[in-house]
Symmetry: C2
Subunit: 168 residues, 2 copies
Amino acid sequence: MDEVMADPIEKFINLYNQEFALDLKLEALHGKEIFEAVPQEHSHKVWEYINAEGFFRDLTVIPGSQDVIKALTEKYQVFIVSAGMEFRNSLIDKFDWLQDHFPFISWKNYVLCGDKSIIGADIMIDDRPKNLRTFSGERKLLFTSPHNVNLVEFERVSTWQEVAEKLL
Amino acid sequence: MDEVMADPIEKFINLYNQEFALDLKLEALHGKEIFEAVPQEHSHKVWEYINAEGFFRDLTVIPGSQDVIKALTEKYQVFIVSAGMEFRNSLIDKFDWLQDHFPFISWKNYVLCGDKSIIGADIMIDDRPKNLRTFSGERKLLFTSPHNVNLVEFERVSTWQEVAEKLL
């Protein structure tokens, strides 16, 4: 979900700039995790914001994800797998967000987990190399996100249009 | 989780008997789903109770599950997979219940899903034949629960002691 279907980075930057009257820009995250892009004394803010109730409830939808995933459901059995278990308060927010923005996917196909190595599927689209590395399926697509731009290990997709070109 | 590690049936019976001043007994559920064991005009109560916030928060732990699952974690990689996605309000209750009663299992190994066919594992212990039927792993253990007592399709375990004898 995060950084593939939903945009938590934009929300983090907005909250952070508002609290500290700063002007952190998306470009500063190139090749980095969020907590590496802020001064060390602010790195705990990442966890504070993300753990708060409601953080995941109103994230912006990543452009193209709705249309392309809808088309994918006509060709594939699509499951939405999120490693949201790290953040207890994210669970219901993620459920409600999916109901709002992806109403064409049943709750039967939602999976909230901690470690995605338990998932048995054929294709995985993910922004995290750790999830792709432990995936046993035949095809792994790395969805571009600031933290993974320097990685060359996987087949890369930078937009949902590229996903459509590869899978539809 | 439900009817294997946690006991929602006992709680349902208590709530139901309290609301209607009745004396529904566990034996009446033999070979039946809960909603089949109550008069038809009360069958919606099953969903009403189960959908309420807090229903899954204080369920009784199934005897033996803590000790045997702890021992299993020393021999296997154990994931707790619950099809709780059907009940939005169960998600955080289930998370908190696991933290309380199974503190030796990391949140990394929790999975809340709708359809367990997405799970890739070697052994599944479950009370629901539908979950075992779609499971691709090598061993399927049906954990006895009132609704499944007449089923002969799977290798059966009726207590956690039996699980220990088979898997430890």
